[in-house]
């Protein structure tokens, strides 16, 4: 089955019922997207499908109709980072780091749809992403910084 991932069409030989997460990790070799719960409760597996934040652990390959964007696509070939990633570094957000791919993908989706999110918007968009290290205060600050960075571009 052919799926468009990060700008390339990838042929994946797998059970059509396999969740996208496992095809990315175990077949396509894209391990930046993480397994956390398997029931769309923690957001560690968040990817974008046609720009929409999607829990890849809970969507079957056969149901993926749009283009998939994973954390690997945010970094340019020249090493340039997305404004959200830059803001994450500026605020020193990550601790263990395991949930951060999902957090960043959710933040990217939020800022694409709302370039000046208020705290309530951040609450709404980010509360599906669990972080056991408690990096939320810095995630909130980094999203505000990223919004400013994107506005300057």
């Amino acid at each position: 089955m052919d799926i468009k991932i990060n700008g390339k069409t990838v042929s994946i030989e797998a059970d059509p019922e396999m969740p996208l997460l496992w095809a990315l990790r175990d077949i396509a070799g894209l391990t930046g997207t993480k397994f956390g719960c398997g029931i769309a409760m923690c957001g560690a597996c968040t990817v974008l499908i046609d720009g929409e934040p999607t829990r890849s652990c809970s969507i079957a390959l056969e149901d993926v109709s749009g283009e998939v964007t994973t954390i690997e696509a945010l970094e340019g070939d020249d090493g340039a980072l997305h404004a959200v990633q830059e803001a994450w570094i500026e605020h020193q957000v990550a601790q263990c780091g395991y949930c951060q791919s999902g957090q960043i993908m959710s933040a990217v989706a939020l800022l694409e749809s709302n370039s000046t999110p208020a705290d309530a918007d951040i609450d709404e968009a980010m509360s599906s992403n669990l972080c056991r290290c408690g990096t939320y205060p810095r995630i909130r600050a980094a999203i505000h910084t990223a919004a400013k960075k994107l506005a300057e571009v």
Binding site: A14, D15, M18, P19, L21, W22, R25, D26, I27, G29, T31, G32, T33, K34, F35, G36, C37, G38, I39, M41, C42, A44, T70, I71, E72, L74, E75, L81, Q85, W88, I89, Q92, V93, A94, Q95, C96, G97, Y98, C99, Q100, S101, I104, I122, D123, E124, M126, S127, S128, N129, L130, C131, R132, C133, G134, T135, Y136, P137, R138, I139, R140
Partner: protein, 753 residues
């Protein structure tokens, strides 16, 4: 800083404890350096912690687990500071499993003395514990001890390597070493204006004698230490490139999962795997005795097929329900006995004498799972009778010991490759997930196998924070000073943990973690008694962030709040009064008083009411006071703000310490707001984040942290933020609503917004 002997660096400063009864000669013999055998071409090994290559690249070997606490960056900064190299260019590697990386500070913290007890016997026993740590040679991350342990050792590693580079340059130039300087990866000869890059010197420098003495920088001259440093692992963690255990990929690797008896530790008496074996992609179903593994060509197929196996599980060897488990804890409490860890004056007598005026309360805390973001996993491969394990773990040498015992190997036949940890919180101190992977791989003819647990398997096969019940009683004298008695009963995390570790000796004496947070607090009371009662049950329990300090401070500091209110004292002012002999405690409490505007009226605009609560806890050498502010709203209790003041003695990286405090607070509040592990039919009922959740972005309060450095002795950071958060929240809820909640989680009696 004074001169430190090289010997001190190699064997740990515990050598000052002459007269220790164990073999002193053995203790003086340094452990071998594991790097010498496998150094890459062009790399020169200076000591077990520093390698420098001909291309000038400096590699710092990190002997501790990076589970979010920032230890990679701090370890590198300690070396870079004394080696005089650019920190941002330092490379890091996780250490192999080797005894030379033992953690002395961790067992020192485990000694049965209060942090503020510097008496001869306390210092003596801390040193003996250090000796024990070396004999057990535990390369482990826990007890918020990594930086305390590393502070001298890693700086000495950098300083001795630097001295050897200078000596090599002095040889080449035929000048006195004392006439040379170092700067940013170069040895300089100021007299003649010439220089060598370190890379040009390494081949000869590494063969120089290790200096007998080196002088460390005075803290006033620190370039990196004491200032916030960008984390060296940050870029990898925002690009998805940081390698966790689940990200290990090896040629021809198979993917597997395990399902163990949910009645923990009990056998599997039968298994029908026929349906699972028919699933395309399934390679093998393996009977593991207490459960089974499914090996497949991807993880999802292994998960799916594992659901189709029909196992027969033996009964649990512990009480089968939460009620029965807590009845056992209660029975132990009622039976009395136990061990008394603090006994000043005669508190029971003072309380008995004040008939009718005493107050008493009974508190409880549930079993808790660690619920790290990354479910348990490990990868293993057997090659020609040798075992290799890849895992994110907190105790590499324990994996070696356990595997050697289980498979009849010598330690030299086992290699452990440590990855980043997707959370630890004490769970990855255990060896079970690594050993299970080794057992599965053993059946797979030399192929590497990655064994990933489902979230449900992870939550139902933890080594839990033990449930506990505490009875407290007090009477307050005319000066507002209480006499208090605490009696607490729980399983022993130490006995349970060391009982699982092959070849480990359970430390002698009582398990102080049963009473930590009750007996070791800096309150000057004339009558103060704390008794711990160990409960003998087979539920696996272990180290959960802050261990005994995770629940006992809820009992202690809630009761102090009750004492204050019962005697018309302000809870914060009462603490300041009772903590007078301990300036670090007073300083922390005074700081949160100032930060929070304690005592000023709170408006109730837009809500039913607001309230503030205060709590204090000294744990892992760090003195922490917190004030929590809550609002009672139509949707329930909203946690609005948290102020935290923490005295670390010495703060090597203030911004990282702020992050650790926020982390500990959110971890503690998460548990207080709703986490509880319950049992039915011998199995844990919760399986995933739908039934065992944690704080989310929309519930996260504004948190302000103040870093203090007045205590005079360096403390830890990973755990001390957690303990005061729970009682400060409960006390704030009392202030806002008048409702005193004495059981965790607080959600048993109140709703959170």
């Amino acid at each position: 800083m004074g001169k430190l002997l090289r010997r001190t660096f190699l064997i740990g400063s515990a050598a000052t404890a002459g007269g220790v009864a164990v073999g002193f000669y053995m203790y003086k013999t340094p452990y071998p350096n594991p790097l010498t055998a496998d150094a890459d071409k062009g790399e020169s090994v200076f000591n077990p912690f520093v390698k420098i290559a001909a291309d000038n690249s400096v590699t710092v070997i990190v002997p501790r687990a990076e589970m979010g606490q920032g230890v990679v960056t701090t370890m590198a900064a300690l070396v870079a500071e004394e080696l005089h190299v650019e920190l941002s260019e330092v490379k890091t590697e996780f250490a192999p499993a080797a005894s030379v990386y033992y953690n002395r500070a961790m067992l020192e913290e485990g000694a049965p003395f209060q942090v503020f007890d510097n008496s001869f016997i306390a210092e003596m026993t801390r040193d003996i514990q250090g000796v024990v740590a070396k004999f057990l040679a535990m390369q482990a991350t826990g007890g918020s001890s990594s930086t305390v342990d590393a502070f001298d050792r890693m700086r000495m590693s950098g300083a001795t390597a630097r001295a050897m580079l200078i000596a090599a340059a002095a040889d080449k130039w035929q000048v006195a070493a004392a006439s040379l300087k170092t700067e940013n990866g170069k040895v300089l000869d100021p007299a003649l204006g010439r220089s060598f890059a370190y890379g040009d010197l390494v081949a000869t420098a590494a063969t120089q004698d290790v200096p007998e003495t080196v002088t460390l920088k005075d803290p006033g001259d620190w370039h990196y230490l004491g200032k916030s440093q960008p984390r060296l692992d940050m870029r990898a963690k925002v690009t998805g490139k940081a390698g966790f255990g689940v990200d290990v990929r090896l040629p021809d690797m198979l993917f597997a999962t395990v399902r163990m008896n949910p009645r923990q530790g009990a056998k599997m008496t039968g298994m029908d795997a026929s349906a699972a074996e028919k699933i395309p992609g399934v390679v093998k179903v393996i009977n593991l005795g207490t459960g089974y593994a499914v090996v497949a060509d991807n993880t999802w197929t292994a998960f799916k097929a594992a659901d189709l196996v029909t196992p027969e599980w033996a009964e649990a060897t512990y009480p089968a329900t939460t009620d029965a488990i807590f009845a056992s804890i209660d029975a132990a409490l009622k039976a009395g006995g136990g061990f008394t860890m603090r006994d000043e004056g005669d508190a029971p007598d003072a309380i008995a004498a004040a008939s009718g005026k005493a107050i008493s309360a009974r508190y409880s805390a549930p079993y808790l799972a660690h619920a790290t973001m990354e479910p348990m996993n490990a990868t293993a491969q057997w090659t020609d009778g040798r075992l290799a394990v890849w895992s994110g773990n907190q105790a590499p040498t324990s994996i070696v010991t356990q595997a050697a015992s289980e498979f009849g190997l010598s330690a030299s036949d086992i290699s452990v490759h440590s990855t980043y940890l997707g959370g630890g919180f004490g769970r990855r101190f255990e060896t079970d997930f690594s050993i299970l992977a080794a057992r599965v791989a053993k059946e797979m003819d030399g192929k590497p196998v990655q064994v990933t647990w489902t979230r449900e398997e992870d939550m139902r096969h933890d080594m839990y924070r033990p449930g506990a019940i505490c009875e407290a009683a007090a009477v307050v004298d005319g000066q507002g000073v209480p006499s208090v008695v605490f009696r607490v009963a729980s399983q022993s995390p130490i006995a349970s943990t060391f009982g699982r570790l092959a070849g480990a000796i359970t430390p002698p004496g009582n398990d102080k973690t049963i009473v930590d947070g009750l007996w070791d607090q800096p309150y000057a009371l004339a009558n103060y008694r704390v008794t711990g009662i160990p409960v003998d049950m087979d539920i696996p329990v272990g180290f959960w962030r802050a261990v005994g300090h995770s629940h006992n401070p809820f009992f202690h500091e809630s009761f102090m709040d009750e004492i204050a209110h019962s005697s018309d004292q302000d809870p914060l002012e009462m603490r300041l009064k009772l903590m007078q002999p301990y300036p670090a405690a007073v300083g922390a409490v005074q700081a949160v008083k100032d930060m929070s505007g304690w005592g000023t009226p709170l408006s109730a605009d837009g809500v039913k009411s607001r309230g503030r609560g205060v709590a204090f806890c000294l744990s892992f050498g760090t003195w922490v006071a917190q004030v929590v502010q809550v609002a009672d709203t139509d949707d329930g209790i909203r946690i609005e703000k948290v102020w935290c003041a923490a005295d670390f003695g010495t703060a090597l990286d203030p911004k990282n310490l702020e992050a650790q405090m926020m982390s500990g607070i959110i971890f503690g509040l998460s548990s207080a707001m709703g986490q509880e592990i319950t049992f039915a039919d011998g199995a844990v009922e919760q399986g995933n984040f739908d039934s065992y959740d944690a704080m989310r972005m929309n519930q996260t309060p504004e948190i302000q942290v103040r870093v203090l450095q007045a205590s005079g002795k360096m403390g830890g950071a990973g755990e001390p933020g957690t303990p005061p958060s729970l009682p400060a929240l409960a006390n704030a809820i009392f202030a806002a609503t008048g409702k005193r909640i004495r059981q965790l989680p607080l959600s048993k009696e109140i709703t959170f917004a």
